[in-house]
């Protein structure tokens, strides 16, 4: 069943997002809200990944994704500096989180079709949190953008 490919993708994407949140937390430690919240959200992603594990094991891991990635979601290699750097790093997180978000949506569809209560349970515990992560990133970027793009030196 191809679902296992998606489950594998989702776990990997959550892990990548967690690492990226931690990276931004470290790189922008002078922004305390970003710093602390990114750590909190990283923990959330790790928890999602942990919750997924039993389902993944049930369907079987399939690392041999035979649909080659066309867009690479490899996470942040390094954080940037300064106000615009912060904005761009948050925007990268936003892209990664969007990938996670839409993958949860697809997994939920499959779970519904399979009437897999355990899987749907996991989805309902996680997808709301991913949605909030996206909303927070947007809130924070909208706050930062005018200063970063208009007056920052």
């Amino acid at each position: 069943m191809n679902l296992k490919i998606y489950l594998g993708m989702l776990r990997k994407a959550e892990q990548t997002l967690a690492e990226s949140f931690r990276q931004v937390a470290a790189g922008h430690a002078a922004e305390p809200d970003v710093h602390f919240l990114c750590h909190t959200l990283a923990t959330q992603c790790e928890e999602h990944s942990r919750l997924l594990l039993p389902v993944v094991q049930r369907y079987g891991e399939d690392p041999s994704d035979n649909e080659p990635e066309r867009i690479h979601a490899e996470g942040l290699s390094a954080t940037r500096q300064g106000p615009v750097g912060l904005l761009r790093d948050l925007q990268d997180l936003y892209l990664l989180a969007s990938l996670v978000d839409v993958t949860w949506a697809m997994v939920k569809q499959a779970g519904s079709a399979l009437r897999d209560r355990e899987l749907l349970d996991v989805v309902s515990r996680c997808d709301g949190e991913t949605a909030v992560q996206l909303r927070w990133l947007q809130t924070r970027m909208k706050q930062a953008a005018p200063q970063a793009l208009v007056v920052a030196r």
Partner: protein
């Protein structure tokens, strides 16, 4: 005569449930003056805490020589506390008042005339507006100005310059109160009233050391306690405060764990069926989410996290769940701690679940710290928009633009107004280059002082400071403006239970000092801010015109002032808003009908996710179809971000003492108050002190990741593992900068804030404590308050705090107590004692 330093709360006047709080008129006069010498009494209210006690100022030969409480006022029934009795007028007449403007020349501040100072300001301001635009400007105000001054600043900042960077130190004291009210009820506005103390069966004080922060309000509670049918008392506080002494249940939680406790209380109320199902169904949203969020928080689970007794949690919940009338008050122990908004919302939730709102004795008081903090919130010189308008609602912006006759695009509304901590961050990064600070002292009051001092001293930052004295902050300014203060100017302000008072000018300000309103109007005039029609944007000649303009701005909003005039405020009691055609005498309680301001077209906020602060946005808010129902907001507990470890094994918390306010700008200039609490100290429990070999009065070093203080230790009844330092003690009276032994509590605090209210976390940090040297005497901490020596420490020779002859005040008990609404109706004839 009563020594009001020794007797902070004065003489008891007990009264029964549903009785009227007796009148007791407190009065203090300069030792050289008798009542007969007083030329006139000028009406005002005290600005040394958010209680807003009405008073009359004694004037003789053009000077303030004393004070007396107003018998007919609904707030204080004649009483005043030690700060009001002594600091309010003595604090204005320090020898070192600023009397002329100062400008920095070759690194030094030198005196100049107003034109020179204002030219320097407008030149820099104009140049930056031209070269960098409005986002280069920031304004940081206070909880000390008058309503008219905040409104003037809001109009010139939001409608003239168009900068979103305006906030007040209200961010440090009251932002969470406002945030929690907005999240739960849709808009700011205190639901309850102080009169709920008269009728309640139980009082819950959440992180609110009322005995020291609002001493007159605590007198009211003490008088109920001394009466025949005292209310039950529940106290949540890590220290053994006066409140804790009288509590039936004292939950001395670990700092930073409030939400775990609150979730457990909510859970208990739900699990025991104490909720009013009908009220919840008709008047609230979100029960399922709340139930799910609190489900893991059994009393035992919370007890483990908070380090309190599970039985205590159950007993507190039982008192809440089974008393027919409960009053809750909340302050900094919640507001300045981790998950501040989430924890404070749970207080609202408890009341919503039981339907305990809008009836006598059933109130919520999400308190304020400072006297005029409420007006900063209303007028929008802080991170709000004027009249509790919603920055995400384009119609609200259009209303303001029409009212001010400016382009709606001028008014910043693309994101929430910038909060104080972010304003300082932008200044640190150099994108805010013009910062104007009025009537507050961030060089002592903000977290992580070494960082704040660096920001304020940055060469690229043009700093204007407007104050009574050359504060630690003013010493770093490029231009210092001498401000007229309380008693030297006229204006209104509003206390924590929505009561509006007028404070009339009693004397002339010293030298060339000017009121903050005059200064703002002068700046606006010089900058040439105009409306679209080309008229001056701020055309007001004085405070009353500004007040009338504000009334229009408040029309139809929750804080409707349209029924109030200066004349109505003279003579009688203060008036609680809303005051309009529907509520001609004002309104004592909000939400009697269970209808809340959550209509999406009317509300002040669409709400936030409590964990992250993500905005919900208009669509999601509308989709819930709140229709006047309150929202039961929920969040899971998360441990605080800085917790004790091997290197920093103690939890650190900060706060006030009864004898001082803020950074002692006024209280430090009253001799009796200063001798009661002259210098800084740190409190530590007997067990911890014993382990570290620390004895009463020993000099200790307290260190965090940010800095250190070196102060004498008071061995007190604080909970084990936690130390407390008062935050009043900066350096203006000791050369202006930290010397060998730094004393400001904020040297140690962390730069972190609540995700929703953006209020800094002053009450949780990790520190180490070590002894430096032996005591030369007991610690300089009062013995009359939470800093009293530990009971277990055995006999000792610590002199009890007293004030002596200079601290004597008269107390006249008797007369018929004011009641709402008669006290307001009584008008100009009544009221004066």
């Amino acid at each position: 005569m009563v020594d009001r330093i020794a007797e902070i709360w004065g003489t008891r006047t007990p009264y029964p449930k549903d009785g009227l709080w007796p009148v007791r008129v407190d009065q203090a006069l300069d030792a050289t003056v008798t009542e007969g010498d007083v030329d006139r009494w000028v009406q005002s209210a005290c600005v040394l805490c958010s209680n807003g006690c009405a008073c009359d100022i004694a004037v003789k030969d053009g000077a303030m020589v004393g004070i007396r409480g107003r018998a007919g006022d609904l707030v204080n029934h004649g009483r005043l506390g030690p700060k009001g009795l002594f600091a309010s007028w003595q604090g204005m007449s320090g020898k070192d008042r600023l009397t002329r403007p100062l400008i920095r020349e070759n690194g030094r501040l030198i005196e100049c005339d107003w034109d020179t100072a204002m030219d320097r300001i407008t030149q820099r301001s104009r140049q930056l507006l031209e070269e960098r635009g409005p986002l280069s400007h920031g304004f940081y105000t206070s909880g000390q100005l008058f309503l008219e001054e905040y409104y003037a600043l809001a109009v010139l900042g939001k409608g003239g310059i168009g900068t979103p960077h305006m906030d007040g130190n209200t961010r440090l004291c009251t932002a969470t109160a406002a945030a929690a009210l907005k999240e739960s009820f849709g808009a700011d506005g205190q639901p309850g009233t102080y009169a709920d103390i008269d009728s309640c069966d139980a009082i819950f004080l959440y992180g609110h050391n009322m005995a020291e922060t609002q001493t007159v309000l605590w007198s009211r509670v003490l008088d109920r306690i001394a009466g025949p049918d005292r209310p039950r008392l529940v106290c949540v506080d890590p220290r053994d405060t006066e409140v804790a002494k009288y509590a039936d249940v004292h939950l001395a939680v670990r700092p930073g764990t409030n939400l775990a406790l609150m979730n457990a209380l909510v859970r208990e109320v739900l699990a025991n069926g104490w909720a009013d199902r009908e009220y919840v169904r008709a008047h609230t949203l979100g029960l399922d989410e709340l139930r799910a969020a609190v489900e893991p928080w059994t009393a035992e689970a919370a007890a483990a996290v908070c380090d309190v007794d599970a039985a205590g949690i159950r007993e507190a919940a039982r008192i809440f769940g089974t008393s027919s009338r409960v009053l809750s008050t909340v302050l900094q122990g919640f507001y300045q701690s981790a998950q501040a908004t989430a924890a404070s919302c749970q207080v609202n939730n408890l009341h919503l679940l039981r339907g305990l709102l809008g009836r006598p004795g059933c109130g919520i008081l999400q308190m304020n710290g400072q006297p005029t903090a409420q007006n900063n919130r209303e007028c929008g010189a802080d991170g709000d928009l004027p009249g509790f308008r919603n920055w995400e609602n384009p119609n609200h912006i259009a209303e303001l633009a029409a009212l001010w006759d400016v382009d709606p695009l001028t008014i910043p509304h693309w994101a929430p107004p910038t909060h104080a901590m972010q304003i300082f961050r932008y200044a640190e990064q150099g994108s805010i280059e013009f910062l104007w600070i009025s009537a507050t002292n961030p060089a002592v009051s903000m977290p992580e002082l070494p960082r704040i001092r660096n920001i304020l001293a940055k060469p690229g930052l043009f700093l204007v400071v407007q104050d009574l004295y050359l504060t630690e902050t003013a010493q770093l300014a490029d231009v210092v403006l001498p401000a007229a203060g309380w008693g030297e100017k006229t204006g209104t302000f509003t206390n924590a239970n929505r009561t509006v008072h007028l404070s009339d000018k009693a004397v002339e300000p010293p030298g060339e000092a000017r009121s903050d309103l005059d200064i703002f109007l002068d700046y606006a005039r010089r900058m040439g801010f105009t409306t679209l029609r080309g008229e001056p944007l701020l055309p007001w000649a004085g405070p009353e015109e500004a007040f009338e303009a504000w009334k229009e701005c408040s029309r139809g909003r929750p804080c409707d002032y349209t029924g109030i005039t200066y004349d109505r405020l003279r003579g009688g009691s203060g008036i609680p808003w809303p005051c309009n055609t529907a509520n001609p005498e004002g309104r004592e309680r909000l939400y009697e009908d269970g209808i809340f301001p959550t209509d999406p077209d009317y509300c002040e906020s669409y709400g936030h996710d409590l964990l992250t602060g993500a905005t919900a946005g208009p669509e999601a808010f509308r989709a819930q179809a709140p229709g006047g129902r309150a929202i039961l907001k929920a969040a899971d507990y998360r441990p605080p971000h800085e917790e004790p470890d091997g290197r920093y094994p103690f939890r650190y918390t900060t706060g006030r003492t009864a004898y001082h306010f803020h950074t002692r700008t006024k209280t430090g200039r009253s001799r009796v108050l200063t001798s009661a609490a002259p210098t800084a100290w740190v409190e530590i429990s007997p067990d911890d002190a014993g382990r570290l070999g620390i004895r009463e009065g020993d000099l200790v070093k307290v260190t965090s990741r940010r800095g250190r203080i070196e102060v004498p230790a008071r061995v007190s009844d604080i909970r084990n593992g936690t130390v407390f330092a008062p935050f009043h003690y900066g350096y203006w009276d000791q050369d202006g900068a930290p010397a060998e032994h730094p004393t400001a509590a904020n040297e140690l605090t962390i730069t972190e804030w609540d995700p929703v209210s953006k209020q800094p976390v002053f009450k949780n940090a990790a520190v180490s404590v070590e002894k430096i040297s032996d005591a030369t005497g007991p610690a300089p901490a009062p013995t009359t308050t939470a800093s009293r020596p530990a009971a277990a420490a055995g006999p000792r020779s610590i002199r009890p705090t007293a004030g002596g002859k200079d601290a004597e005040a008269t107390e006249r008990v008797g007369g018929s107590p004011p009641r709402f609404p008669d006290a307001v109706r009584r008008g100009p004839q009544g009221g004066t004692p």
